[in-house]
């Protein structure tokens, strides 16, 4: 793994904007833009594909060829195309290699670096057209995106502050501290109409202003990095891949609000993000970008990193503040505005990671440029995690107002295996499932609410004909039931009771009355809970009931699962016409549930079968049926 590079030209704290500018020029002067640079994505998605082995192999190849001074090797932040990892991009041409293995290192050095040749087999190949693409910007997955925030991850080593500075990092902070008043910064954010990217969509500028105007000298700013929605990892990748971007946004915010202390609350389960933001804070302090007299001005601000302890509910802003205070993460009644009375009773401004990451962009390019992206009440871009039954899974960034269809088909590349689209689940456990007829709806803070869903923090799970909507509702309810803090009756009992009903339905023990009961419980939990976890807990159930009621009825009345998912309601059988008696399934079945005699079709014993699906995958003759 890359560690801090010892060749930084930096010595001592930066005492002015001019110092920063000088440092940037010094760094740039020591870098040759024509020098080949091999970047390896060090994000968690590629980590799952052993990117560190690819990095080590490249390092070894460079050394053994004596090219350590001639070729740079750099670990960077996430590129977003996680389906195709590990991703290696060779600069300056920006040749995009995907699914790179350690064994490819030698060829990358010998072909691409030494002979300027592109390795065809490592290029991205479009599954639909078969076309290959050499550069990242040409690939359809990237072409339809607008990566103004996330796009900066690709050439920065998150562990090296000099990379960030070389690209103009902290210049915006320097400009603001010297030539803008705090009120002017707030006004810019307000006019840009930056809305909270954590899911609430509340106007950030308004929250900043309330906090600034609240009585009292002591104020806090907080980064909510407790990203908890299953399937969402945008904040993770931002914090891992470009922590200085988030930090610069936070410092700008602290200046605008008048806070001298800030916290980054990162969930425990993100060790790389914790590591990188901790290092970033340390480096920023060394450079005089944090601490006393930042960049030689009167502004003082310090940041502490705090880790969560494994509770989804601690991502709720008042629960997060309780947790920061050392108490159990339990939400407080919402009629107490945390911008006025938050952490330790002091005015506190909490924003999501992505929200903070947008701030330097707005102050640098201006509110007019920013509000030119997106739609009237939904300005700027949003990062989504596009996962599930879609060809191109990963993290994408598009202008707010982009349609679901564009995201799923043009960027996502459609549904794999020729299967049919069924629904897309947005907004995590607080959101709902959207069927095909609404695919042209714009994705923004306001539109999806009418459909019974929400954009939320940006999770998008695509589902096909083999996804059971009742099972989806059950899954989310199970999650919420175990994550409910337990304080209020409505949520604690409500999620449990709704889960019991959904569980029974998927087990074939549901009744028609259960649907009415479910709807009544949904009303209670939705209207009487204390916090957003409870209030939105019923959304997955309600949206699937609204658009897929017939599927619920099939489970209840026919005791069948049309999608072939709910184990109690499906049977695996073998089509005797197609079975060639090859015996493969018999050998592979972990339960010894399949019997067969020589030259006779195999038969599955339904009582022993646990519906694991191994025989279905193993059969080469499509003789295994799920009904």
């Amino acid at each position: 793994m890359p560690v801090e590079r010892g060749d930084s030209p930096f010595v001592g704290k930066l005492k002015s904007a001019a110092d920063l500018e000088k440092l940037k020029l010094t760094i740039l002067s020591e870098r040759d833009p024509g020098k080949p640079c091999i970047t390896v994505c060090m994000g968690t998605g590629c980590h799952a594909y052993e990117n560190e082995k690819v990095f080590a192999a490249l390092e070894k190849e460079i050394e053994s060829r004596g090219l350590s001074k001639k070729v740079e090797l750099r670990g960077t932040g996430c590129h977003g195309f996680c389906e195709q990892g590990p991703i290696v991009v060779v600069f300056p041409e920006e040749i995009f290699y995907c699914r790179v293995k350690p064994e490819d290192a030698a060829e990358i050095l010998s072909s691409t670096i030494s002979e300027n040749k592109v390795i065809e087999r490592l290029l991205f190949k479009d599954p639909l057209t078969g076309r290959k693409f050499t550069h990242e910007s040409e690939i359809p997955f990237y072409r339809y995106q607008k990566r103004v925030v996330f796009g900066r991850n690709k050439s920065i080593d998150p562990k090296n502050i000099d990379d960030y500075i070389a690209e103009g990092g902290y210049q915006t902070l320097a400009k603001a501290l010297v030539s803008l008043t705090p009120e002017e910064v707030i006004r810019e954010i307000k006019r840009a109409n930056l809305r909270g990217r954590g899911g609430g969509g509340f106007p950030a500028g308004e929250k900043w202003e309330t906090t600034r105007r609240a009585p009292g000298e002591k104020k806090y700013v907080i980064v909510n990095a407790d990203e908890g929605d299953p399937g969402a990892y945008m904040d993770r990748s931002l914090l891992e891949g470009n922590p200085h971007l988030v930090l610069e946004g936070l410092i700008l915010g602290a200046y605008a609000i008048g806070a001298d202390e800030g916290f980054v609350y990162v969930r425990q389960e993100y060790p790389l993000a914790v590591e990188n933001i901790t290092l970033a804070v340390k480096k920023a302090e060394e450079y005089g970008l944090l601490g006393e007299n930042i960049l030689g001005t009167d502004f003082c601000f310090k940041v502490k990193i705090r880790r969560g302890a494994g509770a989804f509910v601690s991502g709720e802003s008042s629960a997060l503040m309780s947790s920061l205070e050392g108490k159990v993460g339990e939400p407080r009644p919402k009629h107490i505005n945390t911008a006025i009375s938050g952490l330790w009773g002091k005015p506190s401004n909490l924003n999501n990671v992505e929200t903070w990451a947008n701030v330097p962009l707005i102050i640098d390019r201006g509110w007019e440029w920013y509000s030119g992206i997106g739609t009237e009440n939904n300005t700027g871009t949003k990062i989504f995690s596009l996962v599930g039954k879609v060809n191109n899974t990963g993290l994408i960034e598009v202008p707010l107002g982009t349609s679901l269809r564009t995201i799923i088909y043009q960027i996502g590349g459609g549904i794999p295996g020729g299967k049919k689209f069924k629904a897309v689940q947005t907004g995590g456990p607080s959101g709902g499932c959207i069927p095909e007829k609404f695919l042209d709806m714009p994705v923004d803070f306001d539109s999806l609410g009418e459909l019974g869903s929400m954009m939320g923090s940006g999770g998008m799970i695509v589902m096909d004909e083999n996804s059971c909507m009742v099972d989806v509702a059950r899954y989310f309810m199970s999650f919420l039931k175990s994550e409910s803090c337990g304080k209020c009756t409505s949520c604690r009992e409500g999620t449990g009771l709704m889960y019991d009903i959904l569980d029974r339905i998927t087990a074939g023990r549901g009744s028609k009355e259960d649907l009415e009961r479910l709807e009544e419980l949904a009303w209670t939990t939705g209207n009487t809970s204390m916090c957003a976890l409870g209030k939105t807990a019923a959304n997955p159930v309600l949206s699937t009931l609204k658009y897929f009621r017939q599927e619920y009825l099939a489970h209840i009345l026919d005791k069948k699962c049309p999608a072939g998912v709910c184990k109690a309601l499906i049977r695996y059988t073998i089509d005797p016409e197609k079975c060639t008696a090859c015996g493969r399934c018999i050998r592979l079945c972990p339960q010894q549930a399949i019997r067969g005699e020589k030259d006779k079709p195999a038969v599955i014993d339904s009582d022993r079968c646990v519906r694991c699906g191994i025989c279905l995958e193993a059969c080469r003759f499509e003789a295994v049926l799920v009904e």
Binding site: A311, V313, V328, P333, K334, H335, K481, S482, E483, S484, C485, G486, K487, C488, T489, S490, R492, E493, G494, T495, G496, L497, D500, E520, W523, T524, N527, T528, S529, M530
Partner: protein, 238 residues
């Protein structure tokens, strides 16, 4: 003093006082289980919900946590409020099906039978015992543990709480009567916390009447005037 409007009528109240208390002060009944005038507000049972007037989407908030301010307007008896109370009560009842007080309250709110499978042992997680032990008694021997439906009230690590002084405040304050206390010979037991305490005997009649742990705390805390007789004589002999 501020003016608040409850169900269309104006009332005067001290600014910051909880709306539930203001209503009760003025004879307006709002059902509640987890609220006590001498303890901090919790807002957990959800029975005291009222409707905030003047909102596009009618908003239900707990009146026990809502501090009154000038011009605050609420409604405590709309169909939505009544529906909310009934449905919340439906969720509370299965947790304490044997409690007379809960059954009576349920009936009043339109819940006649237990509609969900009931495994409740009587604890409705209102937190009154926790708050009383912490705030009134100052012992802090019990608190909430675990999350979600597994949430229980327990002493630390579910072991016998050394800091419990056997005062019985939790026994008295529990709305469902699920914390039991018994005395035998010179021992007092708070059964739910598995706490056994030795008691001091009356110097006149010899009857054990006060846990020694309480003698200790009272002696330490009451300096002027000193407790005197109250630590020597049982209530009957005094």
């Amino acid at each position: 003093m501020v003016t608040v409007i409850i169900n269309g009528k104006k009332y005067q109240a001290e600014e910051g006082r909880k709306l539930l208390q203001v209503a009760l002060d003025n004879g307006i009944e709002i059902p509640h289980l987890c609220y006590h005038e001498n303890l901090s507000s919790y807002g957990g049972c959800r029975l005291c919900l009222v409707e905030l007037a003047g909102r596009k989407k009618s908003s239900l908030v707990t009146s026990c946590t809502l501090p009154v301010s000038e011009g605050l307007e609420v409604k405590t008896d709309t169909p939505q409020v009544k529906k909310a109370r009934r449905l919340v009560m439906e969720m509370i009842l299965p947790q304490a099906p044997d409690s007379l007080r809960i059954r009576v309250l349920a009936r009043e709110l339109g819940v006649s039978a237990v509609s969900f499978p009931s495994e409740g042992d009587g604890c409705i997680r209102c937190g009154l015992c926790v708050r009383a032990c912490e705030e009134l008694v100052g012992a802090g021997a019990i608190s909430f543990a675990s999350r979600g439906s597994a949430r229980t009230v327990e002493p630390p690590f579910a072991e016998e709480p050394e800091s419990c002084i056997g005062c019985g405040t939790c026994v008295v304050i529990c709305p469902t009567d699920c914390i039991k206390m018994e005395e035998r010979d010179d021992e007092r037991k708070i059964i739910r916390w598995k706490r056994t305490l030795k008691m001091k005997s009356c110097v006149r009649c010899g009857r054990p009447f006060l846990p020694l742990a309480m003698v200790d705390v009272i002696t330490r805390r009451s300096t002027s005037p000193p407790p005197g007789e109250r630590l020597e004589l049982c209530p009957d002999c005094r």
